[in-house]
């Protein structure tokens, strides 16, 4: 958990100062992330194939959606797609590593429930990942793209369930994180609805 929170804070701070550079040199970052991911796939245990790095990117992206307006949010929105792509690259490494373990140790059909939920969330990340690239996004209808990216909430739900069902010592932290996100998301939705349809003040004529 310490790693997760520290990494999330590092990405947010780094992004705040260098979001223009991140946006400008995103292709190089994706290639670099791919290389690092491929290397860590061959390693025994590290923070990438345990899923911490990927999740830290997603936490930054997730909470951008529920934060209030400000310079930090502005910088995060500017690189939201890049952060999601980097997160998916690193989370794929985690997924592939554990699918590899399942095949190696022959428990692919008898794995715990959280394993399959993790696999489903990885599958959900694929269309979100591919359509996050600007080349593909441009080819899509804007409304369809928005509809498709509503899937990211299902993805967050599955990631949350995956983490909670592992039932390790960090379970309560994950419940706290995803619970807070859920509450703040409802708050944000209600806020947006209220802004769109403000309650008209009753004018007393008496």
């Amino acid at each position: 958990m310490t790693i997760l929170l520290i990494l999330t804070a590092v990405w947010i701070i780094f992004n705040y100062f260098f979001y223009k550079l991140i946006h400008q040199y995103k292709i190089y970052l994706f290639v670099l992330a791919g290389i690092i991911g491929a290397i860590s796939l061959t390693q025994e245990i590290n923070i990438i194939n345990l899923g911490y790095v990927g999740l830290s990117f997603f936490l930054a992206v997730m909470f951008t959606g529920v934060a209030d307006k400000g310079n930090v949010k502005k910088s995060l929105i500017a690189t939201r797609a890049e952060m999601s792509i980097l997160g998916t690259i690193f989370i794929s490494v985690h997924g592939l590593k554990f699918i590899g373990f399942a095949l190696d140790y022959d428990f692919i059909l008898s794995a715990p429930l959280y394993f399959y939920i993790g696999v489903i969330s990885l599958a959900l990340a694929i269309p979100l990942f591919t359509t996050s690239f600007i080349i593909i996004r441009k080819k899509m209808n804007g409304k369809n793209w928005k509809k498709l990216h509503k899937l990211s909430y299902v993805f967050y739900l599955f990631v949350g369930l995956h983490l909670i069902l592992i039932q390790n010592d960090r379970m309560y932290f994950y419940i706290g994180i995803f619970g807070l996100y859920f509450v703040l998301k409802i708050w944000t939705v209600l806020e947006q609805k209220f802004r769109k349809n403000p309650v008209k003040k009753a004018v007393s004529t008496s």
Partner: protein, 74 residues
């Protein structure tokens, strides 16, 4: 006052982050965090793979070696 209300969620997020970080530093030894960044395994961070593969249990192994083995030589 209105501006403060508009930043309420950011304030909650900041407080939640500080509390979560504080608690995680209390419950997870920082040395274990440094270890796992360096690639060393430890009980705080290396639970998943071990549990799946049946190598160790979450909070220690019930088959841990103990000192009073019945096959000890006298």
């Amino acid at each position: 006052m209105k501006k403060e209300a508009e930043l309420m969620k950011n304030f909650i997020l900041l407080i939640a982050f500080i509390i979560a970080l504080g608690l995680s530093l209390v419950y997870e030894p920082f040395t274990d965090t440094i270890d796992v960044v360096a690639g060393a395994t430890n009980t705080t961070y290396n639970t998943n793979i071990d549990v799946i593969t049946g190598a160790t249990a979450l909070n220690g192994d019930q088959y841990d070696d103990d000192d009073d083995s019945e096959f000890d030589d006298d």
